[in-house]
């Protein structure tokens, strides 16, 4: 089983289940065999129907304007039409469909558009079958319905691939955001800064607290300056997260200075009645850093203008 099938959990058992969902039985194989020549003979035309339809739709431009992807898609679609009437719908068949689904996903083909195009294709096939079985419409209809079962099996697979790929993208992006979002930086020995940006939800707050406490231990920090200038909104929930983080840091022996509480945030916190009296606050990051340096016993002195600068180093001779 290929890795794609594994990731999408398409085991042979699952494939059988999917066939059962669309009510596919052994007599369907016989009926499809009867229209095999018709479909294979016209496969090229059905393929064109599918892609001509897509070409008329703006939302499909990701596929139709990318020559490389379009060529691959056409080739796979042709193989698909041939495979549809071969009577063998096992792992190999499913793997081919998944491959096509992946390609659609790369081309950002909308599921709604795909469904429309697939319907147009099936309609063309149905029209031909009706024509061929004009004398025995009942037989024609049943054969077409057997083929349609395979069609629905395929739709199920393609949609699952599209959804799974979208979820995978979202997960990757979330991981990236998570890694970016909570840096704990050492500014001086025993002094950390934690610039918080964006929206703080419960999960991020927990990560933030965990990350901060681990950093406090790793860097032997005594003071942490937590800057919330970039936090979009501070409600009572976020404020409680802040209070908890500060309390946990204190239990580990580190003092936290919170900076960057804007006038609006300050007013809304007071209006909410959140008690932040246990937290040491400073107006901005600069003030927080100066306070932290003072607490750690640093004194930052500006080098006198008269002191030797670059290029005017006194000659020692």
């Amino acid at each position: 089983m290929s890795s794609d099938l594994e990731r999408l959990r398409l085991s042979p058992h699952d494939i059988e289940r999917r066939k059962a969902f669309v009510d596919f039985r052994s007599d369907d194989v016989t009926r499809i065999a009867a229209i095999k020549d018709l479909v294979v003979g016209n496969a090229e035309r059905y393929k064109s129907t599918f892609f001509d339809y897509l070409a008329t739709i703006d939302e499909a431009s990701g596929l139709t304007r990318n020559r490389n992807l379009l060529e691959q898609a056409k080739r796979l679609k042709h193989e698909h039409l041939i495979a549809m009437v071969q009577g063998d719908y096992g792992s190999d068949y499913v793997e081919q469909r998944v491959k096509l689904g992946m390609l659609y996903s790369r081309a950002r083909l909308d599921a709604r558009v795909f469904l429309g195009a697939f319907h147009v294709l099936m309609h063309a096939v149905g029209a031909d079958i009706t024509k061929q079985y004009a004398g025995a419409p009942q037989d024609g209809f049943e054969r077409f319905m057997s083929l349609k079962k395979i069609g629905f099996l395929d739709i199920g697979l393609i949609l699952d691939v599209l959804v799974a790929e979208r979820e995978r993208t979202i997960n990757l992006q979330q991981d990236a955001i998570r890694e970016l979002s909570t840096p704990v930086l050492q500014l001086r020995e025993r002094l950390l800064i934690l610039p918080m940006i964006g929206v703080i939800d419960s999960m991020r707050a927990k990560q933030l607290t965990d990350g901060l406490l681990l950093s406090i231990r790793a860097n032997r920090a005594k003071i942490v300056v937590m800057d919330i200038t970039g936090v979009a909104a501070v409600d009572s929930k976020v404020a409680n997260h802040l209070i908890q983080t500060v309390a946990a840091a204190r239990l580990m022996g580190a003092n936290v200075i919170v900076t960057g509480i804007s006038a609006d945030v300050a007013q809304s916190l007071v209006a909410l009645g959140v008690d932040l009296s246990s937290i040491r606050t400073m107006n901005d990051l600069q003030g927080g850093l100066e306070e932290a340096e003072r607490l750690l016993g640093y004194r930052v002195v500006r080098i006198d203008d008269a002191a030797p600068g670059f290029g005017s180093r006194p000659n020692r001779d």
Partner: protein, 124 residues
């Protein structure tokens, strides 16, 4: 298992060796209260770095030890609370307000020495 209490100059050092039951904690509380007076100690270090859980009884007892020792003339610092323990304590609302805390033993000693120094200057 009872906690050994070591005397080092003006300091008393209690380093918890294993997870303690309530009996051990109460014994520790009584012994420290007694020894602070006997040795005229100025500082107490409680090292909890080995503990992976601090429940409400343990936290309350630690606070009692600190307050009792203060009444008997010694400042107490609790050192080595682990990150996970700190988070759990905060979630339970056990924040040990008013009790000194420090990252590790060395840090705790520094804080105590500074604090004793300050109180001497203030007193003299």
């Amino acid at each position: 298992m009872p906690v050994p209490i070591l005397k080092q100059g003006e300091m008393l050092i209690a380093s918890m060796q294993s997870n303690l039951d309530d009996q051990d904690l109460m014994q520790l509380r009584d012994e420290i209260a007694e020894k602070v007076g006997r040795f005229k100690s100025r500082g107490v270090v409680l090292d909890v770095s080995i503990l992976d859980v601090l429940d409400s009884f343990a936290t309350r007892t630690l606070r009692t030890i600190a307050e009792t020792a203060r009444l008997r003339g010694a400042e107490t610092v609790i050192v080595g609370i682990q990150p996970d323990v700190a988070i759990a304590m905060v979630q339970l609302g056990l924040t040990l307000d008013g009790v000194l805390t420090a990252l590790d033993f060395e840090e705790g000693m520094e804080i105590l020495v500074a604090s004793i120094e300050r109180s001497r200057q203030g007193g003299g």
